[in-house]
Amino acid sequence: MANMDLKKTPMPTQEPLVRARNFSEVALGYTEEMALSEAERCLNCKNMPCVSGCPVNIHIPEFIAKVKEGDFEAAYQIIARSSSLPAVCGRVCPQESQCEAKCIRGIKGEPVGIGRLERFVADWHNEHFSGEVKKAEPNGHKVAVVGSGPAGLACAGDLAKRGYSVTVFEAFHAVGGVLIYGIPEFRLPKSIVAKEVETLKALGVEVQTNFVIGKTLDISELFEMGYEAIFIGSGAGLPRFMGIEGETLKGVYSANEFLTRNNLMKSYKNDSETPIMHAKKVAVIGGGNVAMDAARTALRLGAEKVYIVYRRSLDELPARREEVEHAMEEGVEFRLLTNPTKILGYRNPDDRRDPKNGFVTGMECIKMELGEPDASGRRSPTQIEGSQEILPVDEVIMAIGTSPNPLITSATAELETNRRGCIVADSKGQTSMEGVFAGGDAVTGAATVILAMGAGKTAAEAIDEYIKSK
């Protein structure tokens, strides 16, 4: 019996004011009853519009049909055919602009909670499945994957399933890329990433941590070592700053640094060897998912006041809607149409060696207004003269975007890049070098986990064709 409720089955969450002070996961996940009820909202449309909204083309109505039957393992197997990281995507995909945006139920009422169902199915599998993962018959070919983020892991997983011997090279000491250094524990528990990585290892994927390609090894050396093709998924890791006065003051972080200290190095834990500032008043600059993550992390570290400072309005906020809502519920204050112009620091005029010197004391901001839409269709913000004000903060986190890391491209002259430093690759991931493929943020600039995964999958297919045609 179809469930004709106009609203999604609500997702149970931790209470906002409780969760704003802990690092445990915010959304608690559906129970079996909730999943069954939400699955009944799917009309199993013949033309499957939702699938066309998914960057990796998961057979959505098919897996939801299995959920309706209560056969959760079968549902998982359907998702796993298309996605290497279901438990991750169910949590971090911007479903509202992808699969759920195309859902017929969304025309009148809310779309089917596809992301929530995906998460339920993946978690159910991780909890209940105890069988052996089936390794593919080895085909005798070796492929190297650079970077263990979503693009690299998706590519490695798909190649391993086709029988390739795959080695993933990771610069950090731990595997997962942005999934472990960037996205916080309360949104994506690291145990879930670890579990997904274990599944890939069971498929035969080998991981080498502490290898910086472009430094420890070059692309040419990987070929000499017998790898027949290389996939580069090195991400967009280089943080941007605004170029305003005061950005080298103590208490100014890039979101990358702030989040890496917390997520990868666990500096929020009392026994961590890695320090982090526990600020009282924090301003986070930017309006994307990373900005929301940083703001909510700052709250959990004990800040009394956290501001999101964003130069456009609420409608233009690029973050996933759920993250914005969660941040607001938790008490993050949004200073919209506001842009920083200067960061102010402490300076003791009588004592040059005062250890307090150089710590942030505030941030000067200016009000903005939105003008006419520009060539990109976005209304560009302009400053309102004379509207400066000082926001009293002791920490500023810059979450205004990242650029691709140049370590590999600067060590590999043959690898063509564009003006923004992104690796040039065609729609299949083929770069300017024979046998070298690339995908994810290294090619597109900062984007989403699922787009990177999609690029990794596409490249895996292209690599398979390339090696077979040799």
Partner: protein, 280 residues
């Protein structure tokens, strides 16, 4: 896991270790650094490479015990392992075409200055080394410097070894005596490098300094190691660690380096306490 093949205590506060890391050894050049983690909960510590042996596959690090993590590292023995060791990171020191160079090392910074002096000497550059320490007890690598330098001047703050005074005094004396250097390379505490630059600036001698700010990844990702060089923001890990000393904002770098002073002090006390307990 990376094995400690050799450990040698150089002075009460400074220890040398050879680490089994063949991939790093194969690529390492003077001036580059590595990042290590002592154990699975460890902090990522950047250390400049002191030496390397491509055939044996070893990388030598020399470190001063200044905090919790270096204390834990110092407590390990030959045959034991550290969790992570990654590199070589950063750019190598440029040495090409120099005829005569003064290498100035201060304290444990001498451990990083030595491979630079060695490389210069191997390529036929005349090297004058000026090495400074607080006192005789802390002197390290004097013989190694002598082996690769035409002149070696040892300075101590209290005069208990070599001459009494600062490295800048010795450098100025050499310049004033008519030595013509293509370049001065200074590696040591920030305040020392700042004053080396103040010494060479009036003479207009190109001066290169090696910066070692706080960092996490060492690949350009965190931006924690940013410095102002010639009015522009630079990341020490990928743009450096060597920079034109005349352009570096040392006061800002010194301020940034004490950001976590309280935390580090607290952690160090804790670790010392734990290590002390283990010994008992």
């Amino acid at each position: 896991m990376f094995k400690i093949l050799r450990k040698k205590v150089l002075s009460p506060a400074v220890t040398l270790m050879d680490i089994d890391a063949p991939f790093v050894a194969k690529k390492a050049e003077a001036g580059q650094f590595i990042i290590l983690r002592v154990n699975d909960d460890g902090e990522r510590i950047p250390l400049t490479i002191s030496d390397f042996d491509r055939e044996k596959g070893t990388v030598t690090i020399i470190f001063q015990i200044i905090g919790s993590s270096t204390a834990q590292l110092g407590a390990l023995e030959e045959g034991e392992y550290i969790s992570d060791f990654v590199g070589p990171l950063g750019r190598a020191t440029e040495t090409e075409g120099r005829k005569k160079v003064a290498v100035v090392g201060g304290g444990v910074g001498c451990a990083i200055a030595l491979p630079v002096a060695k490389k210069l000497s191997q390529q036929g550059t005349e090297v004058h080394s000026i090495i400074g320490f607080r006192n005789k007890e802390l002197v390290i690598l004097e013989d190694e410097f002598k082996a690769v330098s035409k002149k070696t001047v040892l300075m101590t703050d209290d005069g208990s070894a070599g001459q009494q005074g600062l490295v800048t005094a010795a450098l100025k004396a050499l310049i004033d005596s008519g030595e013509e250097y293509d370049e001065v390379i200074a590696i040591g505490p920030l305040v020392m490098m700042k004053f080396v630059v103040a010494t060479t600036r009036p003479y207009g001698i190109k001066t290169t300094v090696s910066m070692n700010p706080v960092m996490i990844d060492g690949t350009g990702m965190c931006g924690g190691c940013r410095l102002t060089v010639g009015g522009k923001m630079k990341f020490a890990c990928v743009d450096g660690p060597d920079f034109d000393g005349f352009l570096v904002d040392f006061d800002e770098a010194m301020e940034r380096n004490n950001m976590y002073h309280d935390f580090e002090h607290h952690k160090y006390e804790e670790t010392c306490h734990l290590l002390h307990k283990e010994v008992q």
